[in-house]
């Protein structure tokens, strides 16, 4: 029996339907905008603060302002720590942060990638793997200050055993930050390894390859863009961390730049924090400049991650 025309079986709420879709789209657009807007406002405020000085060009002189900003940042990178706002800069912090970047990269990447390869390519699925996996996921959510306390107890003080204690050195800070980013590196590397099709593994094994030959020649190269992206992003998290480093003793002020992993150090975020605490109003410019240097460093790293991903995505 076909339904009569007077009483159609389907009665869509035509008006509501016509409006609900676009409304939902607009709501999502606004949600997207929130993040972008807030970031632009903050960035604008920081840049304005960095340029606030007597006799500065008005904001619409973009060329002059850009040149001034560039000069300011270049100057700040080169100047040492000082209590005089005109002489103060971030040389110690930039050098310390770059040291930290290298140390964390050297320590956290091999361990993190190794753990991920073990979890994805070697261990049989089962209870043990589930337990380890859950633990790593939880570690990724542990607040960074907890890692700071851990680093203080284990690396800086070595549980009170003076002969093993590393003290407030770069290596102690680097080890602490490595622990902090390790779970993130493991998880993002696992994600990358999971995107490698199983047919590739089977092809290698069916030729009489060992698991190591398969991983080295096929799985890791195929997963490399994803691994690099995740790793660089986690390194930029390490560079931005402040709390755990305050805990393990990134120095407030140091006179001599670190020359080995066993020297004392400070890092950019800690220096920014210290300058921001200074009551002199002129330090606002210095602080804003430091924030811009840190942001530039992070944006450069993230851009590198994106470029690597795009390049491999094209050729792969």
């Amino acid at each position: 029996m076909s339904p009569s025309i007077a009483e159609p079986k389907y009665q869509p709420h035509r008006m509501a339907r016509r409006w609900a879709g676009p409304l939902f789209g607009i709501a999502c657009f606004l949600a997207t905008l929130t993040g972008v807007l807030v970031l632009s406002v903050v960035l604008g405020a920081v840049i304005a603060a960095a340029l606030r000085q007597p006799g500065a060009a008005p904001w619409y002189h973009l060329g002059t302002n850009l040149r001034e900003l560039f000069d300011l940042l270049l100057g700040l990178v080169q100047k040492p720590q000082s209590s005089d706002p005109l002489r103060a800069g971030f040389r110690a912090g930039v050098v310390g942060s770059l040291w930290m970047l290298g140390l964390v990269g050297l320590m956290a990447i091999p361990v993190g990638v190794g753990a991920a390869v073990y979890l994805e390519e070697y261990i049989a699925p089962g209870a043990l793997r589930r337990i380890i996996q859950t633990n790593i996921a939880n570690l990724a959510g542990v607040p960074s200050i907890v890692y700071g306390i851990l680093g203080l107890a284990v690396f800086v003080r070595a549980f009170g055993m003076k002969e093993y204690a590393l003290g407030r050195t770069l290596i102690a800070g680097g080890l602490t930050l490595s622990l902090l980013v390790l779970p993130v590196i493991v998880i993002s590397t696992q994600e990358a390894l999971r995107t490698v099709p199983n047919s590739l593994r089977q092809a290698a094994l069916a030729l009489g390859a060992t698991r190591w030959q398969m991983v080295r020649d096929h799985v890791l190269p195929a997963a490399l863009p994803g691994i690099l992206t995740g790793t660089i992003l986690s390194l930029s998290r390490a560079i931005g961390e402040t709390a755990p480093l305050l805990m393990v003793g990134a120095a407030g002020s140091i006179g001599v730049l670190p020359r080995s992993p066993f020297d004392r150090y400070t890092v950019l975020p800690v220096e920014i924090y210290n300058y921001a605490k200074n009551p002199k109003v002129q330090f606002q410019t210095v602080t804003a400049g430091g924030i811009l240097i840190l942001l530039l460093l992070l944006l450069t790293m993230n851009a590198t991650a994106i470029i690597i991903r795009n390049r491999y995505a094209r050729s792969g």
């Binding site: 699925p125 047919s199 089977q202 092809a203 290698a204 094994l205 030729l207 009489g208 792969g316």
Partner: protein, 283 residues
């Protein structure tokens, strides 16, 4: 279940030692009372099959009856499936290949495999062929081996000018022949093919079938296929697998319904289920 004598008699001459004969038709692979479980579910029950040397053996049967499982048992690739367990005996050249004493890595070089979907490495054509040989410690002239393998797989003329281009740029049929060339480069004795033509068009399929016919002079081939015409065209012997009707609900257990020469199986099947399957009434 019937296991008639091989249509080709072993040709070992009396002067040769009585140890496993090398002639065509002698047994290269044999499964005895093979049972395979996935977890608690029995996938293959009491499989007895003898694969003749330098011939093509086809495994046919409806979906889910364990054809691919049986194929993967022959080179221990089934070990890689989570929860898979094997019981019974498989012999390769008269020696057992099951149990902890056998190294599956060494076995897989001697028993190669070609998969359903062409899966060349995302590397150059040359590297695709050379890699397997290199990791197995090949010490000879690599250029010569790559050319010989590609010629043997009837692909050389099509790729000789793009050896250093990515293997993924080839057509599907060329990719599958590249995978065959890659397998030949490690000089296996047996080649297992898991529905090698199911992703290919009829022309590519015909080329792969011609190639199989060429290759059986030197290699023993086992092919799983859903295409009964293909089994009939290429194979010397055919095993028809069926689902075990006595299996409990929810478990699909495969058994060998019939194994004989391809001519006999298709023209005069003994088992009623085989007859129903090959005439298209079930499956």
């Amino acid at each position: 279940m019937s296991l008639p004598d091989s249509s080709v008699a072993p040709t070992a001459s009396p002067s040769q030692p009585p140890s496993p004969s090398e002639g065509p038709g002698s047994i290269v692979l044999a499964a005895r009372k093979l049972r395979v479980w996935y977890g608690t579910s029995l996938a293959l029950k009491d499989v007895d099959i003898e694969i003749p040397r330098h011939q093509i053996t086809a495994l046919i049967g409806p979906s889910g009856c364990g054809k691919s499982t049986l194929l993967r048992c022959f080179n221990r690739m089934n070990d890689l499936v989570a929860g898979a367990r094997m019981e019974g005996e498989i012999e390769f050249d008269g020696e057992s290949i099951v149990g902890p004493g056998v190294d599956p890595v060494a076995l897989r070089r001697r028993i190669g495999m070609v998969f359903q979907k062409p899966n060349p490495f995302p590397k150059s054509v040359y590297q695709n062929v050379a890699w397997g040989a290199r990791i197995n410690g090949y010490r000879g002239d690599m250029d010569e081996l790559v050319e010989r393998s590609l010629r043997r797989a009837a692909l050389w003329d099509e790729v000789k000018n793009k050896l250093h281009r990515s293997g993924l740029e080839l057509s599907g049929g060329q990719q599958q022949r590249l995978c065959i060339a890659r397998t030949l480069a490690v000089e296996p004795e047996v080649i297992l093919m898991d529905e090698p033509c199911s992703a290919l068009d009829p022309i590519s399929t015909a080329r792969v079938e011609d190639l199989m016919d060429d290759l059986k002079d030197e290699y023993s081939i086992v092919i799983v296929t859903h295409n009964m015409q293909q089994a009939r065209r290429v194979s010397d012997k055919t095993a028809c697998l069926m689902l075990d009707e006595s299996a409990k609900d929810g478990h699909r257990t495969g058994v060998i319904a019939e194994f004989s020469s391809t001519d006999r199986l298709f023209t005069n099947p003994v088992d009623p289920r085989t007859e129903a399957y090959i005439t298209g009434r079930i499956g």
